[in-house]
Symmetry: C2
């Protein structure tokens, strides 16, 4: 095992499973802090603010401050601001997305928009989707916080943001730029926030298709923990493989 200075850590499947804490999570974060490592929690959940995510982690006795959390909504807002801080943005989403857009001081609008941004919105309506289609057809840049097709819940697999985004891409024939894992945009922003080179950072997650693929695309080493989506039995079929694969975070030693 190499020594890493910074860790990017997934949440669902890695720190908790839905509402249940993963037993090894609090100890992993404590040992990481004791070892003096930098870290960020990186999540494709666009609906919650960084404060809400940190509060959920603390309720599970996992140490977390708001500034330790980097959501795909924050990455999306930062991406827009980086390109043009005067952008007018039409957004579909929940509190986490609107909070992130406001913190980057972007202008929310419903016409003459530079960007259309789609995040998960369980109050979606035909009118919102229609407005997004008209604006994308009129030339607004089309962003989506993440391409997740399904959302695991107690009731089963619900439509994810990638599925809702498809209404607009299928109707207009224009594909969005996805920001979240496994895309590189969010990962590169997270790495810059850690102020480290990619060789110094380890990406930690349970999902090969999002977390580990995101790390690989970003040129980082990856640690897959088999407490969530991807099972150890799948390992022989994965190519390229994660740098490390463990059954539980207690196995990981910080060097």
């Amino acid at each position: 095992m190499k020594a890493y200075d910074g860790y990017l850590i997934d949440l669902d499947g890695t720190m908790y499973l839905g509402k249940e804490r993963i037993e090894a999570a609090p100890g992993f974060i404590q040992r990481l802090k004791d070892a003096g490592k930098k870290h960020l929690f990186v999540t494709n959940n666009s609906t919650r603010t960084q404060e809400q995510v940190a509060a959920k982690l603390r309720q599970m006795d996992i140490a977390a401050e708001p500034e330790d959390v980097f959501t795909t909504s924050m990455a999306t807002a930062a991406f827009i601001r980086e390109h043009n801080p005067a952008s007018r943005v039409f957004a579909i989403g929940e509190e986490g997305l609107f909070d992130a857009l406001e913190k980057e001081e972007l202008t929310l609008a419903e016409e003459n928009c530079d960007y259309v941004v789609i995040g998960l919105d369980t109050s979606i309506t035909y009118e919102k989707l229609a407005k997004a289609c008209l604006l994308v057809r009129a030339g607004a840049k089309f962003l989506s916080t993440n391409s997740d097709r399904a959302l695991p819940t107690d009731a089963g697999l619900m439509p994810g943001n990638g599925a809702i985004t498809a209404v607009i891409s299928v109707s207009t024939g224009i594909e969005p730029t996805f920001i979240g894992k496994p895309e590189n945009i969010m990962m590169e922003q997270a790495r810059k926030l850690l102020d480290l080179n990619k060789e110094q950072v380890l990406m930690v997650g349970d999902n090969y298709l999002t977390d580990i693929t995101a790390g690989i695309r970003a040129g980082m080493d990856t640690l897959m923990v088999c407490t969530g989506f991807t099972r150890r039995e799948e390992l022989p079929f994965l190519d390229p493989k994660p740098t490390y694969t463990i059954d539980t975070l207690t196995e990981w030693e910080f060097k």
Copy 2:
């Protein structure tokens, strides 16, 4: 020109454009009736009942009885009944779809469903889409009234039923069976309602991608009228070509 005994006739772009009657439409239908030809109006609009469609035509002085109208919702309901009249159906749609399912005496349900049916619904919600996803994942057969990606309106191109249907196909990875034009299911049902062989029927419409392609796939001769979607300038690039192409329905002589 061959003599045809029956005509399948598209509505939007052929009989009217949105709320505006196409000038040649009333005379075309009158001459068709005077010549003793059979006909059906075939429409991918799933939201209206056959009575509502006939009333709209009559308001434009186009002769029409409810039984002259065959909607994709009616075709969908007939398709389900043909396979199993005891089917339990979860439907997303508007009055036209629910009316058609009721007329075929199918059972509307929200669990243990044999079919999930998607028709255009401008009151769509995340809950309805989630329910459809869960039922399709649980094994319900997945139907969609039509694959139209966009819906022309005065305000611009709105999301069509094919775009809304994509939420479920993208989320579940399962593709629907589309019923309406250009698919063959609706055309074959319409032909049977006319009680004619395909050689005796002419498909009339303005849209090469839906109407004319539907006719070609059904093995029928086709008449493209350039009063709607497809422009005459596109004709050299179409393959296979419509059997006949005219600028207005007044040019057509009934033999």
